[in-house]
Structures are given as C-alpha cells and as structure tokens.
Amino acid sequence: MENTEKMGNTELSPEKSLQLISSILQQNRQEISRNTGKPFLLWGCLSFLSSLIIWLLWSRTGNPAWNFLWFAMTLTGALLHWRLERKTEEGATTFLASAIGSVWILFGCTSCSLAVINIFLPIPILLFIMLLMGFSTSLTGVLIKNSVLSCCGILSILLCIPLSAGRWLSGPDTLLAMALAALVGLVIPGIILYCKTVKKA
C-alpha cells in the first residue's frame, strides 16, 4: 500500500471499498512485472553469447557439430534460472506469472524437440526457434500489458523475413541472425524491464 498507516478493522464507505480493491489489484499487476526483466536478460545474454561463440567455432572449423553446444547453453541457463528464482522468491504465485512461466516452458520444450527432430530430419531449426522466441516475447508483453515488449517480439519475428530472403539463414551465418534475434527479442526487452524495476525501487 502506498500509505504508510497500519491497516485496521474500520468499516469503509462503498466508494472507499472500491478504491481499496482497485488500488490493491493495480499494485498486484505492478508486482508481477517487477521481476520479469531478469530472466529475459539471463536467457538473452546466454543466447547472444552462445550464438557468437558457436558462429566463431563453426566458421573457423567448418564443423556444424559445434551446434551441440546449444544443449550445454540450455542446461547452464536452466541452472542459473533456478538459482535466480530461489534468490528472488516472491511470496506470492500469481495466475499471470504462472501463465508466463508456462509460455516459456513450452517454448523451451518445443525448441528442444526441434533440436532432436533436426538430428533425424534437416530443418531450418534456428529460423523456427527465432519465430517461436518472437512469439513468446510478444505474448509475454500482451500478458503484462507492456507494449514495448510486444513490439520487440513482433520485430524479432519480422526480422526473419529479410534474414531468410538475404540467405542469412543457412550455414554458420544463421548464428549471427540468431544473435540479432536474441538481442532484439530478449536482451533489449530485458534491459527495458530491468530499468523500470530499478526506477520503481
């Protein structure tokens, strides 16, 4: 609550009751978007750095097997995310936070499935992952009513069009496109959300 008076058991007027309900609901919404920035930054930086490292290794050696490093990135990310969650324990589980969590868990599961499918059937996996990532970012933005986040997601989806038209989505250069998508779809929204949190604090 914004006022610092201790809340008591006083009866309220109907107007004051509605005011109290709406202010607490509003406060709840702000609490939810408070810690959304850190996971974005974590996964964004990891994807960005991994893309650059794998691009460097693949283009130098000519061996696409370096892409298996994505699995190591996923494991590292999951571990760091788990530690981050433990550190920033909220005290409340919101329906919205659960929904956002489910969106990103589904994204992770679909991406891992695509990676396994790619072992048996050659598909433009990073293109699919970039589209899914943009979709998940936009959906998160819609859920927390943050238009900047939604726009970043849409932008990273739209980026796939010129990248595929310019043949950037084949060979090691795909990873540069992935790094760009991670920057637009995860790192920039993460920085924006994180700065908002710091300002509020």
């Binding site: 809340m7 006083t10 509605l18 109290l20 607490i24 609901l25 005290g91 589980t93 919101t94």
Partner: protein, 94 residues
C-alpha cells in the same frame, strides 16, 4: 432495496486481504502483511476469521527450514467477493 454488504468483507483489512488473494494463486503471510501494511497480530486474527468463514484456505508448512503460512482464496470466497463488489456497484450507482 439495497442488499446488505457482507459484514465479513466490509472491514478495511479483511477486504484488503481478499483483494490481494483474489489476484493471486496463493500468497504467504509476509507477502500479505507487506501488501496490506497490517500488523502481524491483527492480520493473523483477520486471516483466522476469513478461514473460519470458508473464504480462504490457510496452509502451514515450511520453506526450507523456515515456517511458512500460505493462503489461497476458496471458490466460496471468490463468490462472496464477487457478490460484495456487485453490491458496492449498486450502492454507488444509486
């Protein structure tokens, strides 16, 4: 004729607690205390009253080694809260 406002919800702290819980799946005691700025003793009493009325469910457990009290609103509580808001709207419109 106005419907009578639910006396259990027509108190500042109990209404604040219900407003916090209605927007979340579950919340622990400290979170509710922080959001409502209530004293621990008073909050504890009001949580008991809401639990006795069946509006909320209180679960005592542990988070690691620390004791933790988790609260969540029941379907009965959701119905009571929604009836209360409908009543309030009636009062304000007339």
């Amino acid at each position: 004729m106005f419907k009578k406002l639910d006396p259990l919800l027509h108190s500042e702290l109990r209404l604040a607690v219900m407003s916090v819980l209605i927007g979340v799946k579950e919340a622990d005691f400290n979170f509710i205390k922080e959001q409502t700025q209530a004293t621990a003793g008073n909050l504890s009493v009001q949580l008991d009253k809401l639990a006795q009325a069946g509006y909320i469910q209180v679960e005592k457990g542990f988070a690691g080694k620390k004791p933790r009290t988790l609260c969540r609103v029941t379907p009965q509580g959701i119905q009571a809260f929604s009836d209360y808001v409908e009543c309030l709207k009636g009062y304000i419109q007339h």
